[in-house]
Subunit: 350 residues, 2 copies
DNA sequence: ATGAAAGCGCTAACAA
DNA sequence: TTGTTAGCGCTTTCAT
């Protein structure tokens, strides 16, 4: 039994050879017709296209990837999509990559331990590059994987300014915002607002986003002759934010201003303050968040928050990645964009 | 110049041949070592593993996929991740697929026109199957692609019960909930609650989820001697939900109960009612949503909603897909799960 | 248990 | 512009 017959039994997928036969041309002609900017006579092209259409031919991208050493697939490792901010980043990024003709292999899972599973598998699939979208990825974590010669770009996080965990600078691209500066402006806002006792609700302690925001806030307060009066950790999520808020609001000297390292925790603070402590936000208590997710602007919360320019960050990150992929000599760089403090009712005194 | 030399210039990736050389065995031995349940002496295996480790070898999954006609990649097409419900579904599904050793190629974009881009590209990458996670995918849309012999499973949507747009049943798997039944129970709840004028806020008109929810609600009202007094379309999103809410609440005979086809619109209804019409929810107006996203339970809203068992739905869908992939003779099936009406403050009269 | 050899479906370099 | 000829890196019979 010939091999063609054998495979035919299980309804073999149609290949370029089949198309070539039907069109009465060589397999190369088929390949060329389907390749941008190859030279084919319009006559041949027409024949090929007709045959392909008739046979329902779809070229095999896996094989193409194998041949030109470029899979056309980009990996994205994300933290939990429970965070609308991360979800938005993922959506925008995958949209952009689609526009660039790239496919997106995702891996979601927050723990750093997940990386140890995600990365090898990304490598087996020969992704052309890999993004990390997370509000918590230590430079260390990413750096561990730079020996693999695929470009890595971290979005939303960065290396802690002026502090290098590794002594050397780490060859991973990063796009983030001016967390320190804007957090100082949050301090200004609250001081100008006449607040007296200042608290910070921290995200995941190791996250650079968290550390920078805290530092900027604290420095900003000190610059105005105040100090950070209280701190609780909310781990960037609503549930832990509720617990942290309870602790902060149960204190003897209750804070009258809380800066939260992200919006999820800020919503928690508002909910707890109102429903459990019967406090009036903003009159008894000012709350500021970070990220400016959609819900922040809903009337039920009307939360003052720091807006990260997600769209721009994603585009900058994608540009960087494309450069890195196209030219391996390119050095990854760390990029900081400006964020914007959006004032809403949660800090507006009656 | 030999070809080996030529490619070596651009730092060629290490291949199985390299490992075989270093280990002093044949390439087949390497392949077998890395394949479950192939026969290799532990001696050889050890040598191979050591060499692979030393060289930093990662087998090429693209080539494997090409050879055994199974890429190990599954596609997921999702609607906007702006909807937390879809985002949760995506996260759970990709997690489950990871556990099964499958990779996830995603394509997000809501319009049906996107499908025409997404599907061909999924096919080129030879996905083993494809999921659709969307609160709006007409059976027609999916059916168009069944000629491609890859298994398709739609989650959250289904074919309209008793109505076949195609005359024949469509060979696409589907996992959804008992939208009609539960919506009738929503009607019961509101009637029992003493409400008088009933409105429905519709999602995307063509979506079967939307049509089933409306039908169940309407039938439920009629069964209780009432009727649907008003209807506005909110397209499943917050912004359009606000507009729809304004229209409903500006009517002469203002409804005192609104059933919204999803939570995003229900939040909009609550926000508009309170902030623009100065109404008390639930005393002046009862609101019911659908999906039971996290925010629904936040004190600021405390929304009565219909909980879809996302985790179970995803697992059932994944099971179905795995069966379909492993045994091409399997017929896709349509599965309905039971949803749960969760009562909260938005319908609880003082 | 192991190696040799024949592909998987496609692209690219080379002649013609 | 076209067809021919080598591969890309791996898996898998088939002998041994």
């Amino acid at each position: 039994m010939s091999k063609r017959q054998k495979t035919a039994i299980r309804s073999r997928r149609v290949t370029a050879v089949d198309v070539a036969h039907l069109a009465g041309v060589s397999r190369s002609a088929v390949s060329r017709t389907l390749t941008e900017g190859a030279s084919v006579s319009s006559e041949t092209r027409r024949k090929v296209l007709r045959a392909a259409e008739k046979l329902g031919y779809h070229r095999n991208a896996l094989v193409r990837g194998m041949i030109n050493q470029r899979s056309g697939i980009v990996g994205i490792v994300t933290g939990s999509l429970d965070n609308p901010f991360i979800a938005e980043g993922l959506e925008r990024l995958s949209l952009r990559l689609q526009q660039e003709g790239l496919k997106t292999l995702i891996y979601s899972g927050d723990a750093e331990s997940d990386l140890q599973v995600a990365l090898p598998s990304m490598i087996e699939y020969r992704v052309d590059g890999c993004f990390f979208l997370s509000n918590d990825l230590s430079p260390n974590a990413a750096a561990k994987y730079t020996k693999l010669d695929i470009p890595l770009v971290v979005v939303f996080n960065s290396n802690m300014r002026g502090i290098s965990d590794h002594g050397a600078d780490i060859p991973v691209g990063a796009v983030s915002v001016d967390n320190v500066e804007v957090s100082a402006r949050v301090a200004d806002l609250l001081v100008d607002n006449g607040r007296q006792r200042f608290a910070y609700m921290a995200g995941l302690p190791r996250a650079t986003t968290n550390r920078e925001r805290r530092r900027g806030f604290e420095e900003g307060l000190i610059a105005r002759g105040r100090k950070l009066d209280a701190l609780q950790v909310g781990n960037f999520n609503y549930e832990d934010g509720c617990i942290a808020a309870r602790k902060l609001l149960s204190q003897d000297e209750r804070p009258d201003a809380i800066y939260c390292a992200n919006d999820a925790m800020a919503l928690a603070a508002i909910d707890v303050a109102r429903s459990e402590f019967d406090l009036d936000v903003p009159n008894d208590l000012a709350i500021v968040g970070f990220d400016d997710i959609n819900i922040a602007s809903y009337p039920a919360y009307d939360l003052t928050s720091v807006r990260q320019p997600v769209e721009e960050m994603i585009n900058v990150a994608a540009d960087l990645m494309l450069r890195l992929i196209r030219d391996p000599a390119q050095r990854p760089m760390e990029i900081r964009l400006k964020s914007e403090l959006v004032q809403r009712a949660s800090t507006r005194r009656a």
